[in-house]
Symmetry: C2
Subunit: 246 residues, 2 copies
């Protein structure tokens, strides 16, 4: 049999999982996919992957890969997995790639966060968007988001327990889209620290409520102190949208 490398694009609703990464004793997306692959190939398969999403975070385009002696085409791998996966996980695409391909070596990543600002809680958005009933000052939020663009030390917006070697990241773009009561904030960067987007969104929502001013973001970034920034937005509003490679 031939040694083959596969790249997979994976979509999942994060609600029922303790995040992406394998952990003993709990359901994780990585764990479920690795178990199915290990059964298929009758040997232990370990995935390489692009992003370690937290418990409750969703994905439209997680990327993972593996290398293995295989008789299967990419399409066969996709079908084998999709027919066995639970309904809240789907393999959107599989392709055979060069064995050098490393999902961790992303060039850019895009995440978005959904805020539901409707007067009444929308039952169809449970676990899908952060409902914050307080009227938000959107122009202040937009002004605040400007301060996060560019190459900066984001340590004040990093969750504790991260093993990151550097806390410098570059955000290339932040875009805001509104549809009805839902505000979608899209972030594209070369990478994001642990809970960085949720901490940015939590802070920006507090700015929308008037707790901080937009220009306070500059002080927060300079302080390098997590305690100066705002709350952490809930995981269930966050979506890993897409990972870009060279």
């Amino acid at each position: 049999m031939e040694l083959k490398s596969y790249k997979m694009i994976i979509s999942y609703v994060g609600t029922e999982y303790c995040g992406w990464q394998v952990q003993a004793g709990v359901a994780t997306v990585q764990g479920i996919i690795e178990n199915l692959l290990s059964r298929t190939f009758d040997k232990r398969i370990i995935l390489r992957y692009a992003s370690r999403t937290d418990s409750g975070v969703h994905a439209l385009g997680q990327v993972a890969g593996f290398t293995c002696e295989s008789k299967f085409t990419a399409m066969e791998i996709q079908r084998i997995l999709n027919t066995q996966l639970p309904q809240d996980i789907a393999i959107k695409a599989v392709e055979e790639v060069d064995p050098e391909f490393d999902p961790r070596k992303a060039k850019r990543k895009t995440y978005f966060y959904l805020i539901d600002n409707g007067e009444i809680r929308d039952p169809f958005k449970i676990n899908r968007a952060w409902w914050t009933r307080h009227r938000l000052n959107k122009s202040n939020m937009l002004a605040a988001l400007e301060y996060f663009k560019g190459k900066k030390d984001f340590i004040a917006f990093m969750g504790s327990g991260s093993g990151a070697k550097t806390t410098i990241r570059e955000i290339y773009d932040i875009s805001v889209f509104e549809k009805g009561d839902v505000m979608k904030i899209s972030f594209t960067g070369n990478g994001f620290l642990k809970q960085m987007i949720r901490n940015i969104v939590g802070t920006v929502v507090e700015i929308g409520k008037g707790r901080f001013k937009p220009e306070d973001v500059e002080k927060m970034l300079k302080s390098r102190d997590r305690r100066t920034a705002g709350i952490t937005a809930p995981a269930y509003g966050l979506y890993l949208e897409r990972i870009y490679y060279e």
Copy 2:
């Protein structure tokens, strides 16, 4: 205290409920709302309502009402309910109405049905749309839907166990919208028989797959025999959108 009548517009995700209507020993949307109101008013409140949605069917605009000696404004009723209801039910609006108002006396009702025709199952549409992977012939589906418009005897498209006095209904409009892989079929009529929309959609999807021809619908309607028509589409793709009154 004053005798007041209230009209409520209710949205719910039907997934966790055995339908709208109160039934002993199971969770129903009507049961949950009646229990909260009965506790609030310290007396048994029975709702009148527009539509008895089946188990798993969703609603954006169910209408229900009640009359009761009350010191509460409409806004207070809404707040009392929304703070206590489970997250998958929301009261979108409450207004005080004439005691003559009867939610059952609707002039028109609009339901829609969502079909997901994507190549890959979308995890975010579990229990929200009917995934039918088979490539559907959409022009045949549109042609078939034309036969359902107008005033007709829909007995061949009625689920068993209905107590309807007449099986004649009038469908004023059927519209189809497409967005990405999702097809939304919207039905507006003076009323619908038990499972009538699900039976129409099931038949139309089978026409899309080539099992029947569009013109077969005419024969099915004339046969007055449920067995001549197609399958019943799953409940979870159906949404009660809006109830109209004079």
